[in-house]
Assembly symmetry: C2
DNA sequence: ACAATAGTGTCTATTAGACAATATGCG
DNA sequence: CGCATATTGTCTAATAGACACTATTGT
């Protein structure tokens, strides 16, 4: 190892600057479908394209904190705090993923109940919840990040109670089934689903209340539940076998 | 938003430098137990403490490439390429996790069959495979990263064929069972395990060969298998229920 | 011979899933 | 009234796990 290698290996300050950003894949269920929060970029690069909300981390700011800030700031949705579940997704650092400079992005995955329409934030020309099955072209490598987020979300519904994060404070079993059907994109058997949910310890707990009225097309009032204290579902709710995804 | 906020939000160059490192949690099975590759730091900070192999990313270098390089470089183990499975674990960016400067670390998780002893690399005073249940104090927040890696590894054995990455090119069902027992830390029923493995499509495929001899304490020769083409195990191999881990 | 291990057989409790039945409430 | 929906019941096939058995090989 010569001196320049030594320096290159040991002192990061000889490098061109590396910027660190957070990007947020925020998912919700709206209009009967799964939607992701996108902002339209107001500035170069990729001005005019849609992108995930995100931006540079600030000094002294922890990563999850930066993700929450970007989500709130770029959409005008504040006070999200306790209604949104947020977790780290993955990091992306391919050298040319941003034309300006070396940018490493830490992505976060957020699950939200149906929220108000976002307001375009400070550096966004526009912001909207967009259906994940009818997406515009995305800036940078955000299509890849989003695909990764969707895959993660679908998987986590199986073995965690995360589906409740898409529902309101209280919900019916049918509403919960709607979450699974929407995220997984498959119809589920109402009766078996109902029994299965109630058989998983700690998934949901009864509020003792029922809905005010039956469904719009009739039917009895449904019992209301809130999220239970389980962090893992045991046994898990497995998706119908997907032979093609195994290999 | 005033001008300084504007600048802080838009131009990363006004920030103090952020350094990006990769750290690798490399796991193997040795001496009947699960072990992790640690290096003893030769330099400040935390000189003398054990740490995960890792270091700053280099210009033009992709993140997985950096992880593979650090693993090879800091241990003297080269040509690992095709024998080691490596995947991204998580990222850590708490502001004060490194006393020198703001450092964001992307961690990688590696699974390896039993490899030769590492050689201390260029900036490591020492390097060794150390049992995960008898660890020394670790530098930085590496204990947290390692704990996260172990948790991930244990979980992935359930629904992916990753256990084969701990075995050699070919292996017996008993050896594979040993991997599960070691990583999970629980004994498994030999007969039921055997049947279960063979029932999962694409997990293992027979080589048609058997071991050269029986076990050291007797027994018939075992059939040899190699990893199959499945990427997911279906149905999964679930760990015995862990009531305490659910909530 | 004896002990250890590979591999297979069998039985039972549990579970997933198909299907049915009943009751409630909307139009 | 007629239909959609919530909830519960029943049956069957598949599975996990306990246990047992046979065959093979090292000491």
């Amino acid at each position: 190892m010569n001196e320049s290698e030594f320096l290159a290996g040991y002192d990061p300050r000889v490098y061109p600057a590396v910027a660190v950003t957070v990007d947020v894949v925020a998912l919700t269920i709206r209009g009967g479908g799964l939607r992701v929060l996108l902002i339209r970029r107001g500035e170069q690069p990729h001005a005019g394209l849609w992108a995930l909300p995100g931006g540079f981390i600030r000094p002294g700011e922890d990563l999850p904190q930066a993700a929450a800030r970007e989500l709130a700031e770029e959409t005008g949705l504040s006070n999200l705090g306790d209604r949104v579940h947020i977790e780290q997704l993955a990091s992306y650092g391919t050298p040319d993923r941003d034309p300006r400079m070396r940018v490493v992005s830490i992505s976060y995955l957020a699950f939200a109940p149906d929220l108000p329409d976002p307001l375009a934030g400070t550096d966004a020309a526009d912001a909207a919840w967009q259906p994940v099955d009818k997406l515009p072209e995305l800036a940078f490598d955000h299509d890849r990040i989003l695909a990764h987020g969707l895959e993660r979300a679908r998987g986590k519904l199986e073995y965690t109670p995360l589906a409740t994060a898409f529902a309101g404070e209280t919900f019916t079993i049918s509403e919960l089934r709607g979450v699974y059907e929407t995220v997984w994109g498959v119809p589920l058997h109402a009766g078996n689903f109902h029994r299965k949910i109630l058989s998983v310890p700690g998934f949901v707990e009864s509020t003792g209340e029922t809905t005010e009225s039956g469904g719009v097309r009739g039917g009895p009032r449904a019992k209301l539940y809130r999220a239970g204290d389980a962090r893992l579902l045991h046994p898990a709710l497995l998706r119908p076998a997907r032979e093609e995804q195994i290999r």
